[in-house]
Amino acid sequence: MTGTCSILGILRLKGEAKIPFSTLLKGVEAVRPRGSKLGVGFASVDLEGPELLRVKAFADGPETLERIKSGLASSGGELVREEPSPAGRPFLLWTGYFRCGDYDGFFRSILDLNSKLSEGGFRGRILQSSRHVDLYKEVGASPREVADHFGLDGREADLWLAQTGLPTSFPSSLPTWPCPFSSSEWVVAHDGEVSSFGANVEYLKEKGWKGFVGADSEVIAFLLDELTRVEGLGVEDAAKLLNRPYGRKPWSKNWSTEELFRFRGASLDGSYSIVAGYSDGEDVYMLVLVDRARFRPMVIGIDDGHVYAASEECEIRAISPNARVYTLEPGRYMLASMNRGIVEYGRSGLSCWFTELGPFGEPQATGQAKVIDASAMDSLTLYQEVSSAIRGGHKELVLKHVNGQRYIGIGAPEGVRLSVYGTPGNCLGNLNSGAEIHVYGNAGDLVGDAMHAGRIVIHGDARDVVGQALQGGEIFVRGNVGNRGAIQMREYGTKRPYLIVGNVADDYFGEYMAGGIAIVLGLDCLLKGCDRQLVGDYLATGMVGGRIYVRGKVRPQSVGLRPLDEFGVAHEWKSAKVEYRRLNDEDLKLIGDKVLSFFKEFKLDPELYDRVMDSYFTVVTVK
């Protein structure tokens, strides 16, 4: 959902102790402003599950529960023991442990029972039936309250998954809707909304699935379960099918036309970031998928013993301050295994993507600077603090222990300098009209949106949509930027905006660009001797003005929306003019000083500057 939903997954790697629940909660609570109180769900996956199948059901009262239990009695499984409902909830929660020979048959009868329950108007449902997965979810409660109700303090697991916020805004007090959803040994949390939902349901129905709640996450869990358990695909093939392979991306499996025909309806479309947990009985996996336009945020973190996946970096930072963090390439997936580590990173050339900046330590503040400790503040509180400090005449502000707070520096006036230590959240420096903002860490999405003047300097990465509608001033990002950097940049009069990216950019760089100059330098690639293309696909799509400089060569098929498809039909855009050449005098006049100032700002080696300026560039302008 648009902004009410937040996901966090943690997987331990072999040799590391099981993860205590308190670790997960620390991360979840870092994004309280993001998650709503509408619903929260936690899930654990453990390799060593119970011998028996754990079946969990909720019911609005004893009558419904009886109906569920009697239904289960004729499901082909033998009830060995049961746990009574804990108190303190507006519904009954029942757990039964079953022994069964024919798991697939047992599972089908549970689907059947769920379907009958909803057709019969019963307010109750079986949430899970698995050995390894366990679910804890509730509506209208905070993460802390849910933890208390389920007695999660002290619990440990190989994999934890959390989602706050309802996936779809359906009113109910029963935990029908909150994520995650489970299907046999899969558990799925999902942020976004898939347009393929109706087609996915039709696909599943044909294969005998029924009793749908109607949530995207549920359908995704069913699809993963169907494709792996029933259809027999490997986890990676299932992931590749969900992220429907498409023409331009080199990593998509080469599915045959016949397979793509047969599996129509089994792929996802629309917006999604997914974190799934799974155990096949021999290993525990965390699978993360993002859609091809990367509409929903997702960050991967790695430290010595854990792999993290989170909607926002601050969740990971709250748990593991020095984790290495990266984003998936649009349309790709990450697969981590407890025993084998990361199987698929979901980003090519990661070693030259990591920029090895920071940690930056404690802020250095001069005498006059006003220091604000953001550690206990939510976004709006910090915003008000900063605004009132500025109104009070402070010109220099140092914000420390920033972790996830949004809107920093919005509307800050000329003459103000903000130094931000930590990991600021989205919308940093929007509508900036003259302030100077330095970030010592990575920034989130939408840095410098509709900025008219001033400077933003990021000593790390910036995520998606940096410099949208940038109309004046400059944004320097030392590391990488995500999708849709420099889109709709424009210039007027004497105001010419600059966006300089120190390392690389993802897809759609310079889309709809109408003015200004955007530069991608690939410094870390250069230093590490990697000659990858520095931008993703769809460079300069719909560009009508301005200039883009990308060091090194950009493949013609990476420029524009669809230069020429396989049927030879050209899709016309006001086509960009692409040159591959050394910088000439005009170029140097336009970008020389700015790039030099970028080098000075980040205290980079002047010799590197010479190497860069001596390189071949792909220069994109408009015909």
Partner: protein, 742 residues
């Protein structure tokens, strides 16, 4: 502002309304009523005349007269009382650029004078508009013309997510209207299309940021789509002060016809669910719901409020008040009434600002007076006594389900449909000819038009079941996929290993001259499309690889055999892959699963019947469902075929109902001018154009729904469609939900 060297002619009177050749919602009676109000500033007639009403749902809702009250009060509070309007009217957002400048100023001034609120649209703030107080500043995806001072200039901020005329698509100011002044305010080069792409903001954080930054009420504008009630709930939870819901039929300066006519839900159908859902969740108080899209008089206003809105927004009505003659030329930049004309340094004519302002002031006053008369007759003293009073309404000629969605009483209409046999009406023929380039200058591209949609079943009479089916437009919760910026895959994989560019299969009829058959087959192949060829073995033999035919020439893409009694028990046939052609009827539906055991797929042909004929939409949907129930659908191919599939809109909906491919012929023949006169070279060029247009339209509809892969996401995806007031027995057989339900 442009420098004016020669004094332009100042327009200060109404032009005659040209004769309307197609059926229009804004008919002569409506236009004259608005002109009367605008000239006099007094009530003319509070209730509409029977002959001015259209087929839309709101025109089939009536108000009950109650115990008369005196001196009703039309004051309206928005955003928890932070904005007071003298009347429940908002002047809809129309940008500087889409309108020619003077209208923008007149609109803002009239809002100030009458004490209502005017939206600025996304085009930058005209200096003169900035002087007005009662304006709302729009924040949209292109951020055209917004900075801190602009955001600070209004009474409120409107975050635009979508609009009724083209939900799922962004704003589009055609390049012809991007003249020097517009180039300056929007900061894009002269002559380039000003595209505001799909909004990729996270709505919650944008609302929060705007509130924190401006301290003003923040509204969110969306188009009415499949999930509008849930989006409204979401928007309220995110802390916005209100939602502007723009329904089907709303005006626009430029929109692809295929989207304008087929995407989105009428506003009257979603307002009751929005109101009820917000009430159930305790979020209705202080949260404003503003309805727009075809609001044409005070009666519409009162009825929409009784359905659950707090106020209405006027767009087209404003333009008519300013002299618009509804000739649908906004997108061309040459508006004879100088309202939507492009902004030039030396315009030959300009709207007289004072005259224009006066008209709008009068419009509001007359409108408000009529609203007051209605309130008095109905028996409500204050507007808050009117909002959500569905008990004051009753429906005439609406079906049971529609009445229930609206939450109003009335005698349900009979559970049946009436179709207009004139499938190829004047507007459709012209539209098809525009695709081929036979008419107009844009052959090979999507057909663009302006102003609100006159499409069936609301204005024109419905001609196929698909006219009651509305496509979804994605927004807010599910980002739309902008076709101008995202890669959309229209390619379809087939079970025999072939791949086609899009799911359209031209049918080459037996009756065509053989040279034209050759053109069809050749052009279709060059596009990577199959074609269905009737007869003409010689032609089939020449290159069979992309053909579907009943002949047994080796190497065909698909062999076809017509159903004959007893075939379901098995039959001798060696040709493979084999499709069996069935009819669009009850018997064929029953036969489908059994026949599929002996074939690779089915053609459901509407022009064939084995008893109890059914509309193709129903037959396709039922066959798809029954094959899925049997678990045999996914491996087989299902082709829908009919001579009266009119274009991409019908085809797209048939795919959503379960067809893999759609085959038709007549639309192509009309498009290329076969029934006029034609030579081979022209036929080829025009057919190519038509296919290119169709391809673009297919991409547009997919994009609007947030679909990047047509085949995997669209086939049988009934969630992407809703019906509007379709006879319930038909709707159930389509397995679609009714539009407007929560």
């Amino acid at each position: 502002m442009p420098k004016i060297n020669i004094d332009p002619v100042l327009l200060n009177k109404y032009f005659n309304i040209p004769r309307q050749v197609n059926k229009e919602f804004w008919n002569e009676i409506k236009v004259n009523h608005i002109r009367n109000l605008s000239l006099t500033g007094k009530a003319v007639r509070p209730w509409s005349l029977p002959e001015e009403r259209s087929n839309r749902i709101l025109d089939r809702i009536f108000m009950k007269k109650g115990k008369r009250v005196e001196e009703s009060d039309t004051r309206c509070l928005l955003a928890n009382g932070r904005i007071e309007l003298s009347s429940p009217i908002y002047f809809a957002d129309m940008s500087f650029g889409s309108l020619s400048g003077i209208p923008n100023i007149a609109i803002a001034r009239a809002a100030d004078i009458t004490g209502i609120l005017a939206g600025t649209g996304e085009g930058g703030l005209h200096e003169e508009v900035r002087k007005s107080k009662r304006i709302a500043i729009q924040w949209a995806s292109a951020r055209f013309g917004v900075d801190l001072s602009v955001l600070d200039a209004g009474m409120a901020v409107v975050i635009k997510v979508g609009q009724g005329a083209k939900i799922g698509l962004g704003g589009h100011l055609p390049g012809v209207k991007v003249t020097e002044p517009i180039s300056k305010t929007r900061r894009i080069p002269i002559g380039t299309d000003a595209l505001s792409p799909a909004l990729h903001d996270e709505l919650e954080q944008r609302i929060e940021a705007m509130k924190a930054l401006t301290g003003k009420p923040v509204f969110v504008k969306i188009g009415a789509n499949n999930t509008t009630p849930l989006i409204a709930l979401e928007v309220a939870r995110m802390g916005a002060d209100g939602i502007f819901i723009d329904g089907y039929g709303a005006g626009t300066g430029a929109a692809p016809v295929v989207v304008r006519d087929n995407v989105g839900i009428p506003v009257e159908l979603v307002i009751p669910s929005v109101d009820m859902l917000l009430r159930e969740e305790g979020l209705r108080d202080g949260f404003s719901v503003v309805a727009s899209g075809m609001v044409s008089n005070a009666e519409d206003t009162a009825k929409l409020m009784a359905l659950g809105a707090d106020a209405v927004a006027l767009g087209t009505a404003l333009l008519i008040s300013l002299g618009c003659i509804v000739d649908r030329n906004c997108h061309t930049g040459s508006c004879v009434t100088a309202i939507a004309s492009k902004i030039e340094p030396n315009p030959k004519k300009l709207l007289d600002l004072e005259w224009a302002t006066e008209r709008l002031v009068n419009l509001v006053r007359g409108w408000t007076e009529e609203l007051k008369l209605i309130m008095e007759e109905v028996g409500v003293k204050r507007l808050d006594e009117l909002v959500g009073r569905r008990d004051l309404l009753y429906g005439v000629g609406l079906n049971e389900e529609t009445l229930s969605i609206l939450g109003i009483g009335g005698v349900p209409a009979e559970d049946k449909v009436e179709l207009d046999p004139d499938v190829w009406d004047r507007r459709r023929v012209r539209y098809l000819k525009e695709m081929s380039g036979l008419v107009g200058k844009r052959g090979g591209k999507e057909v663009i038009s302006s102003m609100g949609s006159p499409s069936p079943p609301f204005v024109e009479r419905p001609k196929r079941i698909s006219d009651w089916i509305r496509c979804d437009g994605a927004q807010a919760t599910r980002p739309n996929i902008d076709p101008y910026r995202e890669e959309i895959e229209t390619e379809f994989c087939l079970p025999n290993g072939l791949k086609v560019l899009m799911p359209i299969v031209p049918k080459v009829g037996r009756e065509l001259p053989s040279w034209l058959k050759g053109v069809f087959v050749r052009v279709a192949r060059s596009f990577g499309l199959l074609s269905v060829v009737e007869g003409d073995e010689e032609l089939v033999r020449s290159d069979p690889s992309m053909l579907v035919s009943e002949s047994r020439v080796p190497g065909l893409a698909f062999y076809v055999t017509e159903y004959k009694a007893g075939m379901e028990e098995g039959f001798e046939e060696e040709a493979k892959p084999l499709l069996i052609r069935l009819g669009s009827d009850e018997r064929s539906i029953g036969l489908a699963p059994r026949l599929l055991k002996h074939s690779d797929g089915l053609i459901i042909d509407e022009d064939v019947s084995y008893g109890n004929p059914l509309p193709l939409e129903i037959a396709v949907s039922e066959v798809d469902r029954s094959l899925r129930r049997e678990g045999i659908r996914s491996a087989k191919l299902l082709i829908a075929q009919s001579g009266t599939v009119r274009g991409v809109d019908d085809a797209y909906k048939l795919i959503g109902l379960g067809a893999d491919l759609v085959s038709f012929d007549k639309a192509f023949l009309i498009s290329i001018g076969y029934y006029d006169s034609l030579d081979e070279g022209k036929a080829e060029e025009r057919l190519k154009n038509t296919l290119l247009s169709m391809w673009e339209e297919m991409r547009l509809l997919a994009a609007a729904a947030g679909v990047t892969n047509l085949q995997s996401t669209l086939v049988g995806n009934r969630e992407l469609f809703r019906t509007v007031d379709l006879a319930p027995s038909m709707r159930k057989r389509l397995y679609l939900k009714p539009g407007g339900s929560p």
